[in-house]
């Protein structure tokens, strides 16, 4: 079941769309006019599109002036198109050209890094890869224990260090062991850090540097895990992490609720970072490769439904 279907199902179960209190955008053959676009803009805001909501609606209004928007279907089609344009194409899964392929996973506190790593390990293993996890979060209480449990559920190897150890040295060890043991993929879990914490950002830059020392070319991927329920601050996160690290992709977790992760549009606009996966639950299987169409539909559909 895809994100779109799950969303549809959820929409049936919850009254959330209705609780927005706006109905009848199109009801009773209402004419398409500026007031309608204004309402549509507000509805798009609820998906955390931020300033992009206004931009998209302004374009819709211009298209309407040109006579290109005649009915609800046109609004849907064009809205969908405008949003898709802003996302760019799907990047697909990593190619694992290097062996080991080292993936460094970073993000703010509690965004879903550790859980996403567990899911990624599961996914890559199903693709026939051997996986090693590096527990570089040596700071948060029981962080390594958490990853250890996921490792054992996945039957994946894990490298950990003592509590309070230098995360860079754990990363080094993990890459080192993977290289000597001939492991395919190394997933490095790191402590949550707010992008505003200069010293912690310096710490993670050092981790990246130390990895390259052990294995030139590594890390091959640096993925930023975003909490899908975050609003406009996600853009700030993406900017700062990209400034500190060679971020190569995004993973957006917690999209199984009613949040739609619309901040991604603002991120694309500013940084053009490919989205790799979406997290849609707490179980190992609940990770989906990013599909722009499904993502956009999950926004357009309920928006127009709420508007109906």
């Amino acid at each position: 079941m895809g994100l779109f279907d799950r969303l549809k199902e959820r929409l049936k179960k919850t009254r959330e769309a209705i609780s927005d209190g706006i109905s009848g955008l199109f009801r009773g053959g209402r004419p398409i006019d500026q007031a309608l676009f204004d309402e549509l803009e507000e509805l798009l805001y609820t998906s955390d599109l931020g300033a992009v909501a206004g931009e998209v609606c302004a374009e819709l209004a211009r298209a309407h002036k040109r006579g290109e928007v005649k009915g609800e279907d046109d609004v849907r089609r064009l809205l969908r198109e405008l949003l898709l344009q802003r996302l760019g194409p799907a990047r697909g899964e990593p190619t694992f050209d290097a062996k080991p392929t080292v993936i460094l996973v970073v993000g703010v506190n509690g965004s879903g890094k550790t859980t996403s790593i567990a899911k990624l390990a599961h996914r890559f293993q199903k693709q026939g890869k051997s996986v090693l996890l590096g527990a570089c979060d040596t700071f948060r209480a029981a962080a390594a224990e958490q990853l250890e449990i996921w490792a054992s559920r996945n039957r994946a190897a894990i490298v950990r260090g003592p509590e309070g150890a230098d995360p860079a040295s754990v990363a080094f060890d993990a890459v080192d062991q993977a290289a000597t043991r001939g492991v395919d993929v190394v997933l490095l879990d790191t402590a949550g850090r707010l992008h505003t914490a200069k010293n912690l950002m310096a710490e993670i830059t050092k981790v990246q540097r130390v990895i390259a020392k052990r294995l030139p070319g590594a890390p091959h991927e640096v993925w930023l895990v975003l909490d899908g329920t975050n609003g406009q601050n996600a853009i700030q996160q993406a900017k700062e992490f990209t400034a500190a690290l060679a971020v190569t992709g995004l993973v957006v977790a917690k999209l199984d609720g009613t949040a739609r992760g619309g901040a991604l549009f603002g991120i694309q606009k500013a940084l053009n970072l490919p989205v790799r996966y979406l997290g849609t639950g707490e179980q190992l299987e609940l990770l989906e490769p990013f599909e722009p169409e499904a993502f956009v539909d999950a926004i357009v559909k309920p928006t127009l439904e709420a508007a109906r």
Binding site: R10, K13, T14, E16, S19, D20, G21, E42, Y45, T46, S47, D48, G50, A51, V108, N109, G110, S111, G112, F139, R140, A141, A142, A143, E145, Q146, E148, I149, W150, E163, G164, D166, G192, L194, H195, T196, A197, K198, N199, L200, A202, E203, K206, D227, T229, N230, G231, Q232, N233, A234, I235, Q236, K254, D256, G257, T258, A259, G266, A270, E282
Partner: protein, 532 residues
């Protein structure tokens, strides 16, 4: 990327320029700017709309006050309204009259519940002399129980868990355990759950049914977007929430979700989380939060504090002195005392736009002010009036008299020079020559960090006087502080100035001292200490 509200409000001011009063016609564009600022801060669009509607009726309904410019009135109304909505200030946890107080913590995944349980236990023990028991009732997330146990061990507090049981049963037994062991507070750490997860929402409702918690707290991530409204609503329906805790405010999230949640639940925000360490839990301050959401610092708060604590005459005299250029060390001392009267330095600085968020992360040392004052009082009145007398031997004497180094005296004099220089520049602009209302207004614009608030006219009486003084109070404060911090002709202290002037060495923004990148020396020290 975001235009700060201060900028937006400046635009709003230009809407009102040349207008005698605010009318339903000219207010809308200004309100539009405010609305956009709120949306950019993640306030839910409906809440934002309600807000601007309220401001509108507040402003239009208010009596036109003599001499108060529409722009001032508008900003004031926005801020006031937001503070009112965010309040109350100083809401506290209610404790049970008899038996242990049971506190339920609930919220979405990763919001910060477990960490906050630890922080709250620490705070209750230290500030209220309580003996808390932590109950690990997250039977879902891997190592969630371990996580709480680690925190309990760090605090030397007991953590209850019963393996293999469902969460409501664990909680019920935890409360029993508290009664047996004489703990007077029980904090229930529950699993993170999505508001649309019917099974999990039923579970937390069941916990509440069985344990009848006295406090039911919703823990919310300050970075949450528009969805905050939906999730808060759902938790509010399933639980009898008594309060909210906002976490991760140590970042740069504007935290508009706080307003949405407050609107939806009408429950007070009790605490804010400001870091990962166990001591990083602070009481909630509505005016600070309002400033943060509006992106303007607590300007109005500063202005009001200034107005209430500093007499208008005092503020004006100080201002006029500065503009006229007869500014002496005596005046600088008067300003210093004025600032001291406003309250703790960190609070005062935090109220200045642009400085607010930086100050959160600064080690502000109020003793610095005390030390500065000691320098002043070690001078003779004559020296204060004629700073040019301060040769090296006099400086040494002053240093000895105040128990400080000569460097401190030099630093102070450097700051004084900076202030003087600034005033000279103003004079060069012809601002000091005549203190006509216009020149003064212009001068204030230059000096006040926001400009707009200083745009008061200089007449007297009533609120007008208040606002006029607000302007001058703020203006001179802004520059005064700039001067105190050794800023040359800057009217606002830079972060560096603040850091170096406020004592405490540089400390990166948002850092937690316990969690810094370790140097070799640190490492050695830590090994010696054992665990952190």
């Amino acid at each position: 990327m975001f235009e700060s509200l201060t900028q937006r409000l400046s635009n709003a001011f230009s809407f009102f320029k040349d207008k005698k009063e605010i009318t339903p016609d000219n207010i809308d564009e200004a309100l539009g700017q405010v609305r956009t600022a709120l949306l950019e801060a993640d306030v839910h669009f409906k809440v934002a709309r309600e807000f601007t509607d309220r401001v509108k009726s507040r402003v239009l309904g208010a009596e036109k006050l003599a001499g108060v410019e529409p722009g001032q009135q508008f900003v004031h109304a926005c801020h006031k309204e937001l503070v009112d909505l965010m309040g109350p200030e100083g809401a506290e946890l209610a404790f049970a009259k008899s038996g242990p107080t049971v506190i339920l913590m609930a919220g979405l995944q990763g919001a910060g519940k477990t960490t906050t349980c630890g922080k709250l236990a620490k705070l209750l023990r230290e500030r209220f002399k309580k003996r808390p028991l932590l109950v690990a009732a997250d039977v879902k997330r891997p190592a969630a129980v371990d996580q709480l146990k680690v925190l309990g061990a760090r605090l030397s507090l007991p953590v209850f868990h019963a393996a293999g049981l469902a969460a409501p049963e664990v909680c019920a037994r935890g409360v029993e355990e508290a009664k047996k062991s004489g703990a007077d507070v029980v904090i229930l750490d529950t699993a993170g759950r999505l508001h649309v997860d019917e099974e999990m929402m039923a579970e937390v409702a069941e916990i509440a049914r069985r344990c009848s918690p006295h406090a039911q707290l919703l823990v919310v991530d300050a970075m949450t977007g528009q969805d905050a409204v939906r999730s808060a609503q759902a938790f509010h329906e399933r639980l009898q929430l008594t309060g909210v805790i906002l976490t991760k405010l140590d970042g740069d999230a504007r935290g508009g979700a706080a307003l949405s949640i407050k609107q939806v639940t009408s429950r007070p925000i009790l605490f804010v989380g400001t870091g990962e360490k166990l001591e990083d839990l602070d009481p909630f301050h509505p005016e600070r939060m309002a400033g943060r959401i509006l992106g303007m610092g607590d300007v109005v708060g500063l202005v009001e504090t200034a107005a209430s604590k500093i007499s208008e005459d005092e503020a004006r005299a100080s201002y006029e002195k500065m503009v006229l250029g007869e500014f002496t060390l005596e005046d600088m001392l008067a300003q210093l005392r004025m600032i001291k009267r406003l309250g703790p330095m960190k609070k005062v600085l935090g109220m200045l736009p642009g400085v607010g968020s930086m100050v959160e992360n600064l080690d502000v040392d109020d003793r610095k002010l005390v030390r500065m004052e000691a320098l002043f009082t070690s001078m003779t009145p004559k020296e204060r009036l004629h700073p040019e007398l301060l040769d090296m031997s006099r400086r040494r004497r002053i240093a000895r008299g105040s128990g400080q180094e000569v460097d401190a005296v030099n630093e102070l004099l450097k700051g004084f020079k900076g202030m003087k220089q600034m005033m000279k520049e103003m004079n060069r602009l012809g601002l000091g020559a005549k203190l006509g209302a216009d020149a003064k207004k212009q001068a204030l614009r230059e000096m006040s960090p926001t400009g707009e608030l200083a745009a008061g006219s200089s007449g007297g009486g009533g609120l007008l006087g208040g606002l006029g003084a607000l302007g001058s109070g703020l203006g001179s404060l802004g520059s005064g502080i700039g001067g105190l911090f050794g800023g040359g002709s800057k009217s606002q202290p830079s972060l560096e100035d603040l850091r170096s002037m406020m004592g405490g060495g540089p400390r990166p923004v948002g850092s937690s001292p316990q969690r810094r990148v370790e140097s070799k020396k640190d490492k050695k020290a830590r090994r010696k200490r054992g665990r952190r």
